[in-house]
C-alpha cells in the first residue's frame, strides 16, 4: 500500500517535470534555464543529477516494493536466514562511489567556470541595505560623473495589505532597476552596509552574499535583452521579503545611451538642488518617498509601531525645530533602526520628505523645506 503511494508520487514528479514547460507560470516546477552560459550549465547539471537520483530511486524503491508485495507474512512468506555478505557490502559501497565521481566531474567543470577571474568590461558595485539595494557604476577616473542609485520595492502597501488588487509583478517591482548591457562581461562587486544580504537573480544563476566590511565578486554575460527579476535570499531582518531585484538588460548601444542620460541626470540633480520647490510638489514627492522608505516602520498612518518604531504623527522630532527633523533624516538616530538618509536620498528628495512629515498626519507646521536648505545643512555638517 505504502509503496504504491510512493510510486504514484514518483510518477507524478516525473510526469510533472515533463509537463512543466507547457504549464502556466504559477505551476512552474523547475529551475529556469536562464539567459547566461552559466545558468544553462547550472540547469544542465541540475537535470543530470536529478536523473541520476531518479534512476537510483527506481532501483532502491523498486526492490523495496517488490519485497513488500511478495515477502509478506499474509502470503505465507517464510523468512530467509541470510544476514550479511561482505561482497554485497563492497559492491554497494563502490557503485555509489563511482556514480558520485561521474557527478563530480561536470560539477567541478561548471564551478571552475564560475570562478573565472579574467577581466571585465563593466564593474558595478552592489551594496545591500536594510532593505534596499544600492547600485554604483564604477568609473575609470575621478572626472567622470558617477552613476549611483538606490533600488527600492515599488509595490504599494495597499497591495501588500490586500486593500487593492495585486499587480502582475507583485513584490518583484522596484522604483529604479539595475541596467546592464547584453553580451558584455559585467563584474559585480558585492558588499553590505549593515547585515548580510544575498543578491540573487535566478535567470543569471547568480547568488552571492553581501557581507558588511567585505567584498565579494561574481560576473555575468547576459545574452538576451530583457527584464530579469530576483530577490534577497539571506534573512536580513523585518523587510527581508520586500527587497526585490530587477535587472534590465539592454543592447550595448541602448545601454550607452541610458548611461549617458544617467550621468547627465546626476549632474542636473546637483544643479536642481539649488532650485525652489512648491509646497504641492514637495508634498506629492514627499509622500511617494515616505511610502517607499519610511512606511515599513512608521506605517502608512504615521503611527509607527511603538515602542520600537515611534510615531511620526505628533512627534517632537517632526513638529519641533526643523533642524531637528533635518538632523533625524540626514544623520539617522544612532542606536535605533532609524537610518541616515543623507546619502541614500538626494537633497531634493530629502527636502520633499522632510516637508511631508512636517505637514502630514496632522503635523500642521506649514513649513516648506527647500533643497538648498538641506544641501547647506549637509555641506556644513550642521
Amino acid at each position: 500500500m505504502l509503496s504504491k503511494a510512493k510510486l504514484w508520487l514518483g510518477l507524478a514528479l516525473s510526469t510533472l517535470m515533463f509537463w512543466s514547460a507547457g504549464l502556466h507560470a504559477a505551476w512552474e516546477l523547475n529551475m529556469p534555464r536562464g539567459v547566461t552560459q552559466m545558468s544553462r550549465d547550472t540547469y544542465g547539471l541540475h537535470m543530470t543529477i536529478f536523473w541520476w537520483v531518479v534512476a537510483i530511486g527506481i532501483v532502491v524503491f523498486g526492490a523495496m516494493l517488490w519485497s513488500i508485495i511478495h515477502h509478506r507474512k499474509s502470503k505465507g512468506a517464510k523468512p530467509a536466514t541470510f544476514h550479511e555478505s561482505t561482497k554485497v557490502e563492497i559492491v554497494w559501497t563502490l557503485i555509489p562511489f563511482a556514480i558520485l565521481i561521474m557527478m563530480a566531474i561536470p560539477a567541478t567543470r561548471v564551478l571552475t567556470d564560475a570562478y573565472d577571474t579574467t577581466g571585465s568590461e563593466l564593474d558595478i558595485q552592489i551594496t545591500g541595505y536594510q532593505w534596499r539595494w544600492e547600485y554604483t557604476y564604477l568609473r575609470e577616473n575621478m572626472d567622470e560623473e558617477e552613476v549611483s542609485f538606490f533600488s527600492i520595492l515599488s509595490t504599494s502597501r495597499e497591495e501588500i495589505s490586500n486593500a487593492i488588487e495585486k499587480s502582475e509583478n507583485y513584490l518583484l517591482d522596484v522604483d529604479k532597476p539595475l541596467v546592464i548591457p547584453t553580451d558584455t562581461r559585467v563584474r559585480f562587486l558585492m558588499t553590505s552596509a549593515d547585515v548580510i544580504h544575498a543578491w540573487w537573480v535566478p535567470d543569471f544563476a547568480i547568488k552571492k552574499d553581501t557581507i558588511p566590511g567585505f567584498i565579494n565578486e561574481t560576473w555575468v554575460v547576459v545574452e538576451e535583452p530583457g527584464i530579469y527579476r530576483g530577490q534577497c535570499a539571506e534573512l536580513c531582518g523585518i523587510e527581508h521579503g520586500f527587497m526585490p531585484i530587477v535587472v534590465h538588460a539592454l543592447p550595448p548601444e541602448e545601454y550607452q545611451a541610458w548611461y549617458a542620460e544617467q550621468q547627465q541626470a546626476a549632474a542636473e540633480i546637483r544643479e536642481l538642488a539649488s532650485a525652489e520647490m512648491s509646497m504641492e510638489d514637495a508634498m506629492a514627492q514627499g509622500e511617494q518617498i515616505y511610502n517607499q522608505n519610511c512606511v515599513a516602520c512608521h506605517q502608512a498612518n504615521g503611527q509607527g509601531m511603538p515602542p520600537v518604531f515611534p510615531a511620526v504623527a505628533g512627534s517632537d522630532k517632526a513638529t519641533g525645530d526643523r533642524l531637528i527633523t533635518m538632523d533625524t533624516l540626514v544623520n539617522g538616530v544612532p542606536g535605533t533602526a532609524m537610518a541616515a538618509y543623507g546619502r541614500q536620498l538626494n537633497p531634493i528628495q530629502l527636502a520633499a520628505v522632510i516637508t511631508y512629515v512636517r505637514n502630514a498626519f496632522g503635523n500642521d507646521t506649514g513649513d516648506l523645506v527647500q533643497p538648498t536648505e538641506v544641501n547647506a545643512y549637509i555641506q556644513e555638517g550642521q
Partner: protein
C-alpha cells in the same frame, strides 16, 4: 545486597516522584512528554507560518512576528522536540537493551532533564518582551543577531547555554552507561544498533555542543562587552560566525538522525522477522557519517564567497556522505528482502522513513553540487530538503519508536486502527506539505519570507493545506497514547512476534526496577 533492599522501593507518591526521581524510566517518560509538548508548540508556530503563507499578501501577522515564528519554530523543534525525544528514548531503552539497572549517573540525569523546561520557558518568554523574541532565524547569523538583534537576544543566549548544558550532561550519561553498565556478555558488537548510534551521537554532542556554547558566548561579548568577534567595524568577520555555527550545526544535523537510524534498524528486522542485514557495516557506516559530519560544514555557506579550492573540498566531502548513508538504506532494503513482513503501525512509519528519508537524501546530493547549490541555496528547495530528512525522517522514527515500545512502557497494546489512521494522515499530510516546496524553491521562492510573488501562490496554498492536515493529525497520536496509558488489551512481554533483544525479556509494563541482577548471558544474542 543493596539491590535486595532497593527492591522494596516503588515510585514515590505525588509530584515529588517526578521532581526528585532518579529512575531512568521516569526521566525517560518526562523527556518524552516534554518533547511532545514542545512538538505541539513548535507545530503551532509552524501553522502560524503556513496560515500566513496560505495566500499572497499579509493577512494574519506582521513580518517581524513572522520572523519570530520561523526562528522559534526551528529552535523549538530542534532543541525542544527532536533532541529531547531521542534522549527520552535513550533513557528508557538503553538500560533495558544492555541489561543495566539504570543510567550510570542517575542524579545528573534528573538535573539534565529539569533544567530543560527552564531553558525553554526563558526562550519562549522572549516573545512577550519589548522588541519581541529572536527574529533572526534559528541559525542566528551575525550581525543580524548581534548588532541588529532585539534586546531579548541575551535571554536567548542564556537559554541556549542551559539547553546546551542539558544536552552535554545527557550525552555524558549515555556514554558512561553504555561503556560501564553493560551486562556481562553484552559485548560492543552485540549491542543493538540503537545503542550504537546513540553512543556515537553522544560523542558528537560532546564535541560540538561546547562549540555552540562558545559561539553564543562570543555573541554575548560582542553585544555587551565591546568585543568584535563578528563585527567588521572592529576588525571581526561575520563569516567567521557562520564557520563556527556550522561546525556545530552540521554534526547537529546528524545528532538528530543517527538515533533514528538505530530505531529503524530495530523495527524493520522485527516486522520482517529476519535478522538485520549487515550489522557490522551499519556500525561502520554510522561511524563514517559521524566522522564526515566534521569536515562538511561549509556546504551551508557556498554563497559566502570561499575560494575555489575550499568550495571543491567541501563539495567532494559532502558528496561522500552519500556512500555510508546509501549502505544503510541498502541494508534496510536487504533486511526486508525475503523476510516475512507484517505492517503494524511501527513498521509503516519505518518504511515511510526509509522512503521519504531517502528522498531527502537525494535532494541532499543535489544540494551538495556547489554550482547548482547557488540556485538552491536559501530557497524553499532547501526547506523541503531538510524537512524531508527531519519530519518524515527524524520525527517519523520517533513516532515509530513510540508505537513500537508503547506496549512495553504501558503494559497495554495501543489502538492499532487509530495508529494506522494516524500514520496514513501523517504520511499524506507530510507529502502534501513538503513536496510542493521543492517546486517553489526551484521556481525561485526564497525561504523565510512572510509574503511572496503571485507565481508562488498555488503551491503555497497546497503546502498550507498539507500543513494543517499533518498538524491536526498529531492530535490522534496524543489520543492514542493517552488511551494506551489508561488501558486496553494486555501486552505480553514479547509484544511483537519477531522482536529480539533484552527489552522484550522483561514483563510489560517494564517493572520500575529492571535488571538489578544482570540478565542470563545466554539471552544476549548477536543482532
Amino acid at each position: 545486597m543493596s539491590a535486595a533492599h532497593d527492591h522494596h522501593h516503588g515510585p514515590a507518591k505525588g509530584i515529588s516522584r517526578w521532581l526528585f526521581t532518579t529512575n531512568h524510566k521516569d526521566i525517560g517518560s518526562m523527556y518524552l512528554w516534554f518533547s511532545f509538548a514542545m512538538f505541539l508548540l513548535g507545530g503551532t508556530f509552524a501553522l502560524v507560518i503556513r496560515a500566513e503563507l496560505f495566500q499572497p499578501g499579509l493577512q494574519f501577522v506582521e513580518p517581524n512576528f513572522f520572523n519570530q515564528m520561523t526562528t522559534m519554530h526551528g529552535l523549538i523543534m530542534v532543541f525542544g522536540a527532536v533532541m529531547p525525544a531521542f534522549v527520552g528514548l535513550a533513557n528508557w531503552m538503553i538500560p533495558l537493551m544492555i541489561g543495566a539497572p539504570d543510567m550510570a549517573l542517575p542524579r545528573m540525569n534528573n538535573w539534565s532533564f529539569w533544567i530543560l523546561p527552564f531553558a525553554f520557558a526563558m526562550m519562549v518568554s522572549t516573545l512577550f518582551m519589548e522588541g519581541g523574541g529572536p527574529n533572526f532565524g534559528w541559525t542566528f547569523y551575525a550581525p543580524l543577531s548581534t548588532t541588529y538583534g532585539p534586546p531579548s537576544t541575551t535571554f536567548f543566549i542564556f537559554a541556549v547555554h542551559i539547553l546546551g548544558a542539558s544536552s552535554i550532561m545527557g550525552a555524558i550519561n549515555v556514554i558512561a552507561t553504555i561503556l560501564n553498565m553493560r551486562a556481562p556478555g553484552m559485548t560492543l558488537m552485540k549491542m543493538p544498533l540503537f545503542v550504537w548510534t546513540w553512543l556515537i551521537t553522544a560523542y558528537l554532542l560532546i564535541a560540538v555542543m561546547p562549540v555552540l556554547a562558545g559561539v553564543v558566548t562570543m555573541m554575548l561579548f560582542d553585544i555587551h562587552f565591546g568585543t568584535a568577534f563578528f563585527d567588521a567595524a572592529g576588525g571581526g568577520d561575520p563569516v567567521l560566525f557562520q564557520h563556527l555555527f556550522w561546525f556545530f550545526g552540521h554534526p547537529e544535523v546528524y545528532i538528530m538522525i543517527l538515533p533514528a537510524f538505530g530505531i529503524i534498524s530495530a523495527i524493520i528486522p522485527t516486522f520482517a522477522r529476519k535478522r538485520l542485514f549487515g550489522y557490522d557495516s551499519m556500525v561502520y557506516a554510522t561511524a563514517s557519517i559521524a566522522f564526515l559530519s566534521f569536515i562538511v560544514w561549509a556546504h551551508h555557506m557556498f554563497t559566502v564567497g570561499m575560494p575555489l579550492a575550499g568550495q571543491l573540498f567541501f563539495m567532494y566531502a559532502t558528496m561522500l556522505i552519500a556512500v555510508p548513508t546509501g549502505v544503510k538504506v541498502f541494508n534496510w532494503v536487504a533486511t526486508m528482502f525475503r523476510g516475512s513482513m507484517t505492517f503494524e503501525t511501527p513498521m509503516l512509519f519505518a518504511i515511510a522513513f526509509v522512503v521519504l528519508f531517502t528522498i531527502g537524501g537525494f535532494t541532499g546530493v543535489m544540494l551538495a553540487i556547489t554550482p547548482v547549490d547557488f540556485q538552491y541555496h536559501d530557497t524553499y528547495f532547501v526547506v523541503a530538503h531538510f524537512h524531508y530528512v527531519l519530519v518524515p525522517g527524524a520525527v517519523f522514527s520517533i513516532m515509530a519508536a513510540t508505537y513500537y515500545w508503547l506496549p512495553k512502557w504501558t503494559g497495554y497494546m495501543y489502538d492499532e486502527t487509530l495508529g494506522k489512521l494516524h500514520f496514513w494522515l501523517s504520511f499524506i499530510g507530510v507529502n502534501i506539505l513538503f513536496f510542493p516546496q521543492h517546486f517553489l524553491g526551484l521556481a525561485g521562492m526564497p525561504r523565510r519570507i512572510p509574503d511572496y510573488a503571485l507565481q508562488f501562490a498555488d503551491f503555497n496554498w497546497i503546502s498550507s493545506v498539507g500543513g494543517f492536515l499533518f498538524g491536526f493529525s498529531q492530535l490522534i497520536l496524543l489520543f492514542v497514547i493517552i488511551k494506551c496509558v489508561r488501558g486496553g488489551k494486555k501486552a505480553t512481554a514479547q509484544v511483537w512476534e519477531g522482536a529480539q533483544g533484552l527489552e522484550w525479556t522483561v514483563p510489560s509494563p517494564a517493572p520500575y526496577h529492571t535488571f538489578e541482577t544482570p540478565p542470563d548471558p545466554t539471552l544476549i544474542k548477536a543482532q
